[in-house]
Symmetry: C2
Subunit: 173 residues, 2 copies
């Protein structure tokens, strides 16, 4: 199978200079301070600066409240792309799971898909809320979000995921 070339369509501008989830000593490490800043209601506004040549490709996106942003986790070097298993959020009390059973940016193809609220479009610039991409991240795609595509009814997940979500909710209160 051949490889494929991804050409960035734009770049993320954000005050967020360091990732909240990083790979250290072959496992994930979560920085709560950064995560809280990105996800809190007060902060977490980023700009997606789309290249002029793709500006018209955005027409109509402003009619959706939420979009899916695909970006390349450009700080993930080749070595980090080949980590196989990690503890979710770096918490050793959770089972060691394969990287595809996580949303870690360190993965064979370090593409993150993050669904965010679209606050405003001005020409080639989208203002969004709670994007987890650091400043300078190359954007590789933008899609509308719609539940019929992205939110199947009756989804189920393992216990560690339930615990993790509860833990996040408590900490981000």
């Amino acid at each position: 199978m051949q490889d494929y070339l991804v050409k960035p369509i734009g770049v993320v501008r954000s005050n967020y200079k360091e990732a909240s989830l990083t790979l250290q000593d072959q496992d994930l490490k979560l920085n709560w301070k950064i995560l809280t800043r990105t996800k809190s209601n007060k902060g977490g506004i980023s700009e997606l600066i789309i290249k002029e040549e793709y500006k018209d490709c955005l027409d109509g996106i402003e009619d959706f409240s939420h979009i899916v942003v695909l970006y390349w986790a450009h700080r993930i070097n080749d070595e980090k792309r080949y980590v196989t298993k990690v503890h979710p959020a770096g918490r050793k009390e959770y089972p060691l799971v394969g990287i595809f059973a996580t949303r870690s940016p360190a993965r064979p193809n370090p593409i993150c898909t993050t669904t965010v609220q679209l606050l405003e479009r001005k020409e080639n610039i989208l203002k969004v809320k709670s994007l987890d991409a650091i400043d300078g991240s190359p954007i590789i795609d933008i899609k509308f979000h719609h539940p019929s595509y992205d939110a199947p009814p009756n989804a189920k997940w393992p216990d560690w995921m339930k615990e993790l979500i509860n833990y996040f909710r408590e900490e981000l209160k």
Copy 2:
């Protein structure tokens, strides 16, 4: 900004040989017969054959009912990557919108993100339901689906999207 190389982690095996949504004469064209076959309850089972070297990366994925599959729409040639605006589902009664306000596979980086039900995992093979990828599509990533990541509450969308979803529901009954 530099380009990035995507290395397929596996391949889709499916009876589905032609895409339901294609680009013809600079606009989208929807093939209902194919869409119905893929989306119906009777059909639409595909296998994701993951390369042996990434087998362990799947550990734990079987505990999720739904996964997000990223695949490369490999039939989209360079010319089709530069179409700017289309009619959603090729229906001229809908407004002409930018390609980022659609889920068309023809886009600058032809990466599709499709959320599917995971029926079974056997070693390096995942059996999934209703994947819209044609046979032979290169898989570039797999992630768990969880509403906290992928299903924001209170999402909104334009009227054409509402009409399109109603139209799909009627036709797929």
